[in-house]
């Protein structure tokens, strides 16, 4: 018996003979890794068992969700098992009182949004934002656009987690809001990129789908005015569910080339009770006027909304900056033909996007860096045999 056969027998004993494969086409899904086997576990218990096996046999595990990201795995010398969450697509429980939903990590974002909609619930982020990505993949390696001024970053969706730790144990964190019981271990493992644990089940908080969702669009003479107004809107306490600022070239893309003469826009989505939205719109108009802005017609706003929600593509390079840094950085983009836009706002910081990396070099210098030393130490403590390959996202 070859070692691979031996391995497949052991893996089959965990997941069943039909849920693993050594076919070239399946292995190719783990680009550049060439795993000996690919396995499709059905739940966290099976993943934990596979991890225990991996520890025993000193093999490595690479994890794949929806396959929409571009993970970059390091190539180990010993054999690799590819683990895909594609069978883990169930909604385990939905509690409409708490507005929480327990889902398996392999459920795709669009499917999740559809299922929630049937129950009158939503996440606050656009359905098309991450279409085919899985919730496990999104929370393990959040994309740069996963943030709403009203709800915060994507990780805020997650109340608690069940993870399979590298040592093969299953860790379920308590589902309770905002605990003060030491570091929040469950939430700490979000963003981990399957480095020390694999997300298997998530408890997500949702909201009732609001009675009203209204887009609004404001025109400004300069990008600076638009950004300053956007900041003022947030800092006064208006909480849009989406907020974007775009320069002329990007605005033309978002609103349509016939509107190419628009120098800069602020686009928003507001959601909630009618009266709250009405007051918020009044306030937005007032603030826009203070910064030489003006409200664009509702049909244009609707058009913009349609496009930005359906084409939520990440076709640029983003840098997270403070508002002051962003104001300084946009001063450099005087060429109206080059696309520049800002999103993922909160009252303090914003993501600055540009078409290419090159002009943001100064801005990048302002950005902090990941503490790789700490990550390595945690890895050594929690995954001593380096079973999990983890993934370094290509940004």
């Amino acid at each position: 018996m070859s070692p691979e056969t031996d391995l497949s027998t052991e893996v089959a004993a965990i997941v069943g003979a039909t849920h693993l494969s050594s076919l070239e086409s399946d292995r190719a899904e783990f680009s550049g890794l060439d795993p000996a086997l690919v396995v499709w576990p059905k739940d966290g218990a099976e993943i934990a068992a596979i991890l225990r096996l991996a520890n025993r046999r000193r093999i490595h595990i690479a994890v794949r969700g929806g396959g929409t990201g571009s993970p970059c795995w390091r190539r180990p010398s010993s054999p690799v098992l590819g683990l895909s969450t594609r069978r883990m697509i169930n909604i385990v429980e939905l509690d409409s009182t708490s507005g929480t939903v327990i889902v398996q990590a392999g459920i795709r974002w669009s499917k999740l949004c559809d299922a929630l909609e049937q129950h009158g619930l939503w996440t606050g982020l656009p359905r098309d934002a991450f279409g085919e990505a899985t919730i496990g993949g999104l929370l393990a390696d959040p994309p740069a656009n996963a943030h709403s001024p009203s709800f915060g970053p994507l990780s805020e969706l997650c109340v608690s987690t069940t993870v399979a730790c590298a040592d093969g144990s299953l860790l379920r964190s308590r589902t309770a809001p905002r605990r003060a019981v030491g570091p929040d271990v469950g939430r700490m493992l979000l963003g981990d990129r399957a480095n020390v644990a694999i997300l298997t089940e998530l408890v997500l908080r949702t909201r009732q789908r609001p009675a009203l969702i209204v887009p609004a669009l404001q025109l400004f003479p300069t990008l600076r005015d638009a950004l300053t107004a956007a900041r003022a809107i947030l800092q006064i306490g208006v909480r849009p569910t989406m907020l974007r600022v775009a320069n002329q070239a990007q605005a033309a893309r978002e609103i349509g080339p016939q509107n190419f003469s628009i120098p800069a826009v602020v686009g928003l989505e507001l959601a909630g009770p009618q009266k709250m939205i009405d007051r918020a719109l009044d306030k937005i108009d007032e603030i826009a006027a203070q910064h030489s802005g003006q409200t664009l017609p509702a049909d244009l706003a609707a058009d913009w909304y349609e496009r930005t929600c359906s084409e939520y593509a990440l076709d640029g390079h983003s840098t997270r900056l403070s508002h002051r840094e962003a104001l300084a950085a946009i001063g450099r983009f005087t060429d109206a033909g080059r696309r520049v836009w800002l999103d993922q706002f909160d009252a303090h910081r914003v993501n600055l996007w540009t078409e290419s990396d090159e002009p943001t070099v100064d801005a990048v210098a302002m950005r902090g860096s990941r503490d790789d030393h700490w990550l390595a130490a945690i890895k050594a403590a929690l995954d001593p045999h380096q079973v999990l390959l983890g993934a370094q996202s290509i940004e």
């Binding site: 507005g99 860790l171 309770a176 019981v181 570091p183 009266k275 990941r370 700490w374 990550l375 403590a381």
Partner: protein, 513 residues
């Protein structure tokens, strides 16, 4: 390294070499003063002469990161414990030297080093007292939005180390929502700046770590503009259930009023501004119990009678409240831009009316606001009168909340007078703040009863699905419940401990580590 040996004289000399004489002390008065925080269990002992439950060897007051780093190095070399100490207002025995060691009082690190009113961010040193910070921000038209009742005696570092919650948490969030980055020196003397954008995982590990991994030395905090307007509304709702439903509807619709407070029937009757002021015996007795309003002799007599059968008193109180159909008081506070705040108030009003709420005089809300820090500091008369009082704050999802309320209430009621309010609500759940009053025959009896009450209440909370703390933290008091709370997550916490504090010098025994 829970069993610390007393500090050797060589270690004492090494510490003394680091600090000028006015910033180090091994004098008895200081060792007594720093031998406890505000854990009520130690107050029971204090009443009967147990003056230094957790006596440290030395107290130091560093003024710089260099001093802290040097101290850590000496501590590693001589193997003694370091206990970060902020305001000492913690109520769980988190800032005490369980087996000797050095108390490191951080209150001299108290500067706002940078403030940007474009970004609404401030760099602040960790030892600053909360009210001092808020006052300095207010001068610039800004606020942190964090208002714990202990704001005048607690520090920024203490808040971050315990995941504190303020009274306006539904608008501004808890302290963990307000922090943008922290400066942190771990148990190997390594300083690191941990920010939300690049190191969210590490930030999540440091916030709430109660000093067991190292010192939070400074933080960049998110600010808001001072509100243009602030309004209060008060309601009476028929029951806790209906009141919670109103809270839930408001939050799940996406609103964020600054204050949402719901008192259960007995808390409404006794300690809220709308409480019963009628001269009934029970009312006077219990009011005296909680407010210390009666003369001392009368108070003692009332206490003895009332608390001899505290469980009965709870039931009588609950029945009385029921009979009088007093219902539950709810206070709503909105703030910010006037037009937005008014719209928010109008929506809250609609929801509360839908839940059978009756509008009361706004003055009740205003009066709560004016006295908002007061009630927590009126416990001393109870201790003086041989009783004890403590608070327990748990959190649960909405669908488990009523069970948690009933089960914890029941667990405590057999031996204590129990009041509760709901004051930190979220879209997915809420915290419940129980206050319980009881007394034992003597110190040993009182402490045994106190421990028993905590044990049964926490066990009830755990079984009903609540987190054992929402904002007070763990300290020593709840350390043995960490296993129930985290299960296998304790392995991860222990791994974090070995990474941050491999020598085991930082605040041993807390968080069950």
């Amino acid at each position: 390294m829970n069993q610390q040996a007393a500090i050797t004289s060589a270690a004492q000399r090494a510490i003394a070499a680091l600090f000028p004489s006015d910033r180090i002390s091994a004098d008895l008065p200081d060792r007594i003063a720093y031998s406890r925080d505000l854990w009520p269990r130690t107050l029971i002992g204090l009443r009967e002469g147990q003056h230094r439950p957790f006596e440290p060897d030395t107290v130091v007051w560093p003024v710089s990161l260099d001093e802290l780093r040097a101290l850590i190095e000496v501590s590693i070399e001589h193997r003694f414990a370091l206990i970060p100490f902020g305001g000492g207002s913690g109520v769980c025995g988190g800032a005490v030297a369980q087996n000797g060691g050095v108390i490191v009082d951080l209150k001299r690190l108290d500067q706002i080093t940078q403030l940007c009113d474009v970004n609404l961010l401030a760099d602040v040193q960790a030892g600053i007292i909360g009210q001092t910070l808020e006052d300095q921000l207010n001068v610039r038209g800004l606020t942190l939005g964090h208002f714990p009742s202990s704001i005048r005696c607690s520090t920024l570092g203490g808040w971050l180390a315990t995941r504190s919650a303020g009274q306006c948490s539904s608008r501004y969030g808890k302290i963990e929502d307000m922090v943008d980055s922290v400066g942190f020196i771990d148990g190997t003397a390594r300083y690191r700046r941990v920010d939300r954008a690049n190191n969210r995982q590490q930030l999540e590990a440091i916030i709430g770590s109660e000093g067991v991994f190292g010192f939070i030395t400074d933080a960049t905090m998110r600010l808001a503009h001072l509100p243009q307007t602030r309004m209060f509304l008060a309601y009476r709702v028929p029951s806790v259930e209906r009141g919670c439903e109103a809270l839930r509807r408001i939050l799940q619709a996406g609103l964020r009023p600054a204050v949402l407070r719901l008192y259960d029937e007995l808390d409404t009757l006794l300690s809220s501004p709308a409480g019963d002021r009628s001269p009934s015996a029970l009312s006077r007795a219990t009011h005296a119990l909680t407010h210390g309003g009666a003369g001392k002799a009368l108070q003692n007599r009332l206490l003895s009678t009332a608390l001899r059968k505290a469980g009965n008193l709870s039931r009588i109180g609950a029945n009385l409240a029921d009979r009088l159909r007093r219902g539950c008081l709810m206070i709503v506070g909105v703030e910010g831009d006037r037009a937005l705040a008014e719209a928010e108030a109008a929506y809250c009003h609609e929801q509360i009316i839908c839940c059978e709420g009756d509008r009361l005089d706004d003055e009740i809300g205003i009066s709560w606001f004016e006295n908002r820090y007061g009630v927590s500091f009126k416990m001393s008369p109870l201790f003086m009168a041989n009783a004890f009082v403590d608070t327990m704050e748990v959190a649960a999802p909405w669908h488990k909340l009523m069970r948690v309320y009933r089960d914890v209430h029941q667990a405590l009621s057999a031996d204590a007078l129990v009041l509760a309010h709901f004051s930190h609500a979220y879209t997915d759940g809420c915290s419940i703040y129980f206050t319980f009053v009881s007394r034992g025959s003597d110190r040993t009896g009182a402490q045994a009863l106190y421990d028993r009450l905590w044990q049964s209440a926490l066990a009830a909370a755990d079984t009903a699905g609540a987190a054992v703390s929402h904002h007070h933290g763990i300290g020593l008091a709840k350390a043995e419940f960490m296993k129930a709370e985290h299960g296998h997550g304790m392995t991860t916490l222990r791994a974090l401990k070995t990474v941050f504090d491999p020598h085991g010098i930082m605040n041993p025994g807390k968080l069950g580590l």
